[in-house]
């Protein structure tokens, strides 16, 4: 057991925070959100230079072989700075599923350009009404269906699309420009971009199926859970920024002849926010450190974290607005940006309530409920 960052992790955290503090202020966020594309190619090249786009991939695939902790460190920093660029869809979701399932040639072909900052990915995993289907043809597959809420699809050149193949599941590499693919992008509450994707008889070669794997259901599930853990770190970053800003604001705002921060009733409410942030951070760390464990443990930790952090983020956001007063209800200060970032977190990949229900089902088993969080390494 060890919960201390090692030297390299500390350096990564400090350099990420320093870089983003100088490079990505609230004004940058607003400009990016309001731009047509919703992301900045310049910023993307810069983080490619920093090596962040290759962080979790194996060295053989051109990456740096880092783990979930490093991803969480970066994501927390992104949440603090309201970064809109498609790191999660490209590196954690799209890159994650390619790294997990792809054959060596596929990994090199797809991940190489990702690491260099030349390609962006999106993982179309959630189906609209019914499952997307892949039918085998003489020289490959035909893909048909409709995907929803796809993060980063409008910024991507390559989609990874999950689909049923008979009774199994596979993930297909689908260049956005492929005939029969329609990406309908829209702006999300937090200034990001989502898309619904229509797939009409999309003809794909046999080589488009990642790893030739027709039983990829568990890998898909795991990748989504890794994304939820990463997104949770982003939410923790946003929450911690809200706490800092609220404390700073009440120190400067004078009413009744003294700073608001002098009023004990407000101090206690800010402690309430801080405590929620700390619990959210702890819950996120449990999820992050459980990603490489058994499927049961990973599910328990990630589902629990989404439920816990969702509740905490709602409460912290509301308090931040209230303690800022009228200005907190606008987009003038970054409070508005963080509040909406957290709102998006709550609704993405299953709501807080849905996760709470799932966690309730998991923990209803007394044996599971009795298990502490330290684990035997071999498990």
């Amino acid at each position: 057991m060890d919960l201390q960052y090692d030297t390299e992790q500390t350096i990564l955290r400090d350099s990420a925070e320093k870089f983003l503090a100088g490079r990505y202020d609230y004004r940058t966020f607003q400009k990016t959100a309001d731009s047509a594309a919703g992301w900045s190619p310049e910023f993307w090249s810069e983080i490619a230079e920093l090596g962040w786009l290759g962080l979790p991939f194996a060295e053989d695939d051109g990456g740096f072989g880092a783990g979930a902790v490093e991803i969480a460190i970066l994501m927390e920093a992104f949440g603090k700075s309201l970064v809109l660029e498609p790191y999660l869809p490209t590196v954690v979701l799209g890159g994650g599923i390619v790294a997990k399932l792809g054959a060596p040639a596929q990994r090199q072909e797809i991940l190489g350009p990702v690491v260099e900052g030349k390609s962006r990915l999106a993982f179309a995993v959630q189906d609209q009404a019914k499952p997307t289907e892949a039918k085998k043809t003489a020289n490959g597959f035909t893909l048909s269906g409709a995907k929803k809420t796809v993060l980063g699809a409008t910024m991507a050149d390559t989609l990874l699309v999950s689909a049923q193949i008979g009774s199994g599941v596979g993930v297909f590499v689908v260049p956005v420009a492929t005939r029969g693919v329609t990406v309908r992008g829209y702006r999300s509450v937090d200034g990001g971009r989502l898309a619904d994707i229509e797939l009409v008889d999309v003809a794909l070669p046999e080589s488009s199926l990642l790893g030739g794997n027709e039983q990829a259901g568990a890998a898909v599930e795991e990748t989504v859970q890794r994304a939820i853990a990463a997104l949770s770190a982003d939410a923790v970053g946003a929450m911690s920024a809200l706490v800092v800003q609220t404390v700073e604001y009440t120190k400067t705002r004078v009413q009744f002849g003294q700073p608001l921060a002098k009023f004990q009733v407000l101090q206690h409410r800010m402690v309430g926010m801080k405590v929620k942030e700390e619990e959210a951070r702890a819950s996120c760390l449990f999820a992050t450190l459980s990603l490489d464990g058994s499927a049961e443990r990973r599910e328990r930790a990630v589902v629990g974290a989404k439920a816990k952090i969702g509740r905490a983020s709602r409460a912290v956001a509301q308090e931040a607005i209230q303690l800022h007063g009228a200005i907190g209800t606008t987009d003038e200060l970054s409070v508005g940006g963080y509040v909406k970032r957290l709102l998006a977190y709550e609704m993405m990949f299953g709501t807080t309530r849905e996760h709470l229900r799932r966690y309730g089902a998991i923990i209803s088993d007394p044996e599971t409920a009795s298990h502490g969080l330290l684990t035997v390494a071999a498990e």
Binding site: M1, H268, V275, E278, A282, L373, L374
Partner: protein, 394 residues
Amino acid sequence: MDLNIAPQDLAFRDEVQKFLVANVSKDIQRAVELTSAFINEPEISIDFHRALHKRGWSVFNWPKEYGGSGWTAVQRYIFDTECARYNAPMYNGAGRVMLAPVLMKFGRQDQKDFYLPRIAAGEDHWAQGYSEPGAGSDLASLKCKAESDGDDYIVNGQKIWTTQAHKSNRIFALVRTSNEGKRQEGITFLLVDLDSPGITIRPIHGNGGDHEFNEVFFDNVRVPKSNRVGEENKGWDCAKYLLEFERGGSLSAGRVRAQFTRLVNKIKTHCPDDPDIIARMAELGTDLDAMEMIDISILSALQSGGNPGPVSSLVKMRWSQVRQQIAELTMDAIGEHALKWVVERPLYETLQLPEEDEDLLTAAPRYLNYRAYTIFGGSTEIQTTILAKSMLGL
């Protein structure tokens, strides 16, 4: 970073489990289960304490030079978790967890030599003489006074909310030795034998039906000055140091998880399909996981030579709330079973019911008794004020 238990720690876990099987009888497990008070009585724990002492484990949390076990942070976690899972009794918190660190830091060598081994062996049971009728959250306003008379102090006044004073043979007390200057600068830390002439102990019965608290009256009680810890009028330093240990000195995760597991079992039996109860259980489960991670973070910090810092107030505040909420939900889950009330205590002696029924009788008393968790050891409001300063710089 990882949450792994190393292979050598598994051997340790087996060792602890074997020890518990050999030294905690079914009767004692039942007595712990049926203790609705927040601390079990020494009668329940003394055999276990002696067995631990014989094994060299009774004061595992102490530094090795004073007889501590030298366990790693993970081993402490394992020991605590296994004790809780097995329903082993809690023992001697006031002496072992609170007073001992004060003696180690502020005590004279002869005091350490005399008192520490007696705490370790379970020969002394200590009570905590802090609160007074007029000094609760505002502890520094305490009035119980000690006047100098040659080699002795003459103590007059009253302490209140003294947990298990009626089961203890000694009390550590904060007394006023000066009214000059700042209130904190006139307080002295004294060790007092509870059989001294002039001491009267009067019970206070909680609304949960248990006798845990007492009033302790001092009427011209003669205490040798050699029983003073630290210097005269410097007792506030001891008092504050002790509170750090009272608040953050031991892990709660194991005990609270055991309490939560009992709740899950109750829900399974009494209301497995109630969506409201299940949702509240789930929320508590996620709170428990988060708090356990914070506990483990503290262990990790201690292991690498740091100290927990301001988070000990957070931990005290949140664990006490989580415990209360589990007790509350347990009562809600069993519904009308919580109506039945047995007056006599201790329940493990008075009850003659089937196992599944007797356990239900603790739910309402536990719910009521556990309200004290957010009041003693510095109330939630006091911890919040401390956190405003220490974590937010306000």
